[in-house]
Symmetry: C2
Subunit: 325 residues, 2 copies
């Protein structure tokens, strides 16, 4: 049994708790929290919720610690801290800062003789794998990644920070015409606006100015200004009823040609009823791999690129060759 | 530079020759043939065509030998033979016999201290990888593989063996209704007939009985009897004009649910203008990985499941993390 600890119990931590149940060779040992443990109610019977400080001595009986925190401020601190003490997995997803995060975690993991995996999930994660495989198989071609239809938590948060907004959800939606153009093999150059639209569902506070809120949303730099954005105002009841989930997904495509000039197309897509639940499931599969690498005596920081696929599976090589190859 | 040798110069061997050109860190050193080398005209200037017997001493200056032979009779003999002498890659694709082939090649490769990769390509190969990844991420779900639209060489050959048939091509075509049912997430149980149809383009010999040929095709056990099969009779000119290519492709889908019951869908698809050219491209990328594993001192037989994705890329880890993760 691979013994899993979870640090952090938001959507992602809870997703990991559930994902462990689908893997008979894995066992949830404890949930660690920086909140008051008495305030955190988990759903797995017999598993303790402990203060995060219990991890500090490096003596908790876990094989892998899955760090379920945010990329902005949590993971840059937490992952290097705990990579000295435990084998760890995180879902750090600020693409531009991955090289720095990797270096910090690699140094820590080597110091502690532990194995760490960063930037695991679906993007970065499974989408990255598909970009890599497709680039190796079609060295001459063009890459496209589309996200959605799905909830962008960062964009939803940005809307909620506007004065007069009580609540909001934002969907990122790929533009069908752009997807069609890519699939046609024409290798189009697409602007930000041509690839995705943004659909906002906004609950106003009493007396707020809808026109002013809409203007602030659609003109917000980085988040919305470069997109065609649709803003819908609804009641809190409607938002809770119709937009409570966290679906997401997307498409990774590569189109290219062989050296003989023959066209080829590779497409990968995910349609996820719950972004955090699926991300958690990926984290758990990679936790199995990390436990195995650690048992082999490896150490240092890894990414999904460094993990042979067989390490993810509960079955042995002979089974995989007979049934999945 | 990774020095590549090719054994066999049919569609696949020629595809490898072309694919090497798209990889600046790889070099084609020689093509080996069991035919008279003087009868084999390759397209790369300055590369010799040599008799296969030149390989027998194990002294050819190559890092990886790509064995471009058929799975029925060639590879079961050739791959174990040469895995004792060279690092080798093959595309053995008789799924049911993979475990036996693996054992034979593994024994040979260990004997010679070499690394071998078997069953590389897209199915087995990239499709297998996608089945494995999807099963690890969605442990509770159902797998579906569809092939086509594409030319099945085995089925085309079977038609050509019928008396009165001068030439033929057979397309395997996924049934759209079946694909749609799978994509809906209903986890349908599909019969052979419900998943694929078979479309045949047949050139008759002078005086042949079309009705008798058609009956023999559609009733042929294993190949056609379990499918809805359409037979079209055309002239040799039309066949050569409209059906000269070897396109193929297909779909790997897994639908399932999280432990919380939330639906998820993973889909991978390939649309290949040329089956042998794409397969070759996969073989060449994996040849790079095998050369690296050999340089690390590994030996024995591997499959795509055993190869960390980073080994396939010409770029280093820092580049991959910065640009593809």
């Amino acid at each position: 049994m691979t013994r899993i600890g979870i640090l952090g119990y938001g959507n992602l931590g809870r997703g990991v708790e559930f994902a462990v149940r689908q893997n008979a060779d894995m066992e949830l040992v404890a949930v660690y929290t920086r909140r008051d443990p008495a305030s955190v109610a988990i759903t797995t019977e017999g598993v303790p919720v402990k203060p995060a400080t219990d991890l500090d001595a490096g003596t908790e009986a876990i094989d892998v610690l899955i760090i379920a925190g945010g990329s902005a401020t949590d993971l840059p601190v937490l992952t290097p801290t705990y990579a000295k003490l435990y084998n760890v997995v995180d879902s750090f997803d600020t693409h531009a800062n991955i090289p720095t995060h990797f270096e910090n975690v690699d140094t820590a993991a080597h110091e502690g003789g532990k194995v760490a995996l960063i930037s695991c999930g679906w993007d970065p994660g499974l989408f990255s794998l598909n970009r890599l495989y497709a680039n190796c198989m079609l060295p001459e071609g063009a890459d496209y990644t589309f996200w959605g239809k799905g909830i962008s938590q960062g964009h939803s948060d940005a809307i909620r920070r506007i004065e007069g907004v009580a609540d909001a959800k934002q969907y990122t939606i790929p533009v069908q015409a752009a997807l069609d153009a890519v699939r046609s093999g024409s290798n189009p150059e697409l602007t930000t606006r041509e690839k995705h639209t943004r659909e906002c569902w906004v609950v106003l506070e009493d007396g707020a100015d809808a026109a002013a809120v809409e203007k602030q949303i659609v003109e917000m730099p980085n988040y919305f200004a470069d997109y065609d954005t649709v803003v819908n105002f609804i009641s809190q009841e409607e938002l809770d009823r119709d937009h409570a989930g966290l679906p997401h997904g997307g498409f990774v495509l590569r189109t290219g040609t062989s050296a003989a000039g023959t066209p080829m197309k590779i497409e990968y897509s995910l349609e996820l009823g719950s972004n955090p639940e699926f991300t958690s499931s990926v984290l758990v599969a990679y936790a199995r791999a990390i436990a195995r690498l650690a048992a082999e005596g490896q150490c240092g920081c890894k990414t999904v690129f460094d993990i042979a696929p067989a390490y993810l599976a509960s079955q042995d090589g002979a089974f995989l060759r007979a049934h999945m190859l």
